[in-house]
Symmetry: C2
Subunit: 230 residues, 2 copies
């Protein structure tokens, strides 16, 4: 669906003046493949918008289809309505990979991968694109799930506002590896290194109201995110 809207303007370099990282440039990237890999691994984005002079940041689910990022919410949601009317948006996605323990307080850090995506969203009005976006929102969380669930009804589609943000202007920041301490601190009697962090899924909890005789979805039993090393 997104091809009609965004494909003609695709570039593999998402750097613009506004997305150019000014500090620690060695940690920055702007290529579409890296942006997409982070967007596809994370579960939740933080959506920023401004009402009056007050910025708001709300966590929300999302899905990527080609060069488009979709978010959704209730049709009456004032934030989404504002964004649909052309407010500028910022979508930030962050994966925390570990803690970086240095020999000095100053050099403590984290290993992470983050995407900052800028742009203006359009409301998705085409019913087929809207339906595909809602499928993508489920599939982003648990691939294959859509096959076994009831698809959105026309009424549910009307109740839902889906916004499409072109993935056109973005930056990535990535930190990896051990701490970087001052030379004068290296002999200090203090352990230094990384604590790797990852998100894991525990055993699924069946809905107490589940009809009898239905076994757990295999994708729920062995749940992992794409790109995770678990």
């Amino acid at each position: 669906m997104q091809s009609r809207h965004e494909a003609s303007t695709q570039s593999d370099n998402l750097q613009t003046v506004r997305t150019t990282v000014k500090r620690r440039r060695e940690r920055a990237a702007y290529d579409r493949a890296t942006v997409e890999s982070i967007l596809d691994e994370a579960l939740v984005c933080h959506l920023g918008f401004t009402l009056g002079d007050q910025p708001y940041v709300i966590p929300t689910t999302y899905a990527r289809v080609g060069a488009t990022l979709y978010v959704h919410g209730a049709a009456a949601n004032r934030a989404l309505k504002g964004l649909a009317s052309g407010l500028s948006a910022c979508v930030t996605v962050t994966l925390i990979d570990g803690l970086v323990l240095a020999r000095s307080a100053f050099h403590h850090s984290m290993n992470y991968r983050s995407v900052v995506l800028l742009g203006q969203a359009r409301p998705v009005t085409d019913l087929e694109e809207k339906r595909a976006a809602m499928v993508a929102l489920v599939e982003h969380v648990i691939p294959g799930r859509q096959a076994s669930v009831r698809a959105p009804s026309d009424e549910e589609l009307r109740e839902t506002l889906v916004l499409a943000l072109p993935i056109r202007e973005a930056s990535v920041k990535i930190r990896t590896g051990p701490p970087i301490d001052d030379a004068t601190d290296m002999a200090r009697e203090c352990w230094a290194g990384e604590i790797p962090l990852r998100q894991v899924a525990d055993r699924p909890i069946t809905d107490p109201a589940l009809a009898e005789g239905i076994v757990a979805d295999p994708a729920a039993v062995t749940y992992t995110r794409p790109g995770t090393n678990s």
Copy 2:
């Protein structure tokens, strides 16, 4: 330190017109204790600010000391400088507790706890408060760590901009429990339930440059976040 600035205005109810949740009000909370528990468990916040008409959202570490939230960065960081000059800020913290798999695409959801905190930050100029904030930033990530690392030097303090945001105006949203499907979908041949998610720490990776004979920090070997059930 924060007591001189923020304690006199402390209230246990952080609800204002701007932080009143309009949708799914049954998931909202505004009490200081709940706000603090989420802030203390999470590792990273998403800091929102507006330059021109463009919102930006950046992931960053933070620490809570009493009724104050501290963030920090390089003194030359243009976002932090803007915030120090009085720009409005939004700090959002999100913990993802699980995936909620419903019988319909429409009712898929997540279990989560999030805080949205609004306000204006002040630059921390008092050297003692700044030093305490930098200690708190390390202690937030790994309690007890400060005792074994080199404290910030005067030069490091000068190079760092620390911002203090009063925890005065906030909302919490919490979703827990199984999916809530339509009555007409309940008999559907489709597994439904929750997949609990949590962040875990793997075995620490020692800095290859570590001086010989230094054993791992016990807090790094058995790392957990406060409030986690792991």
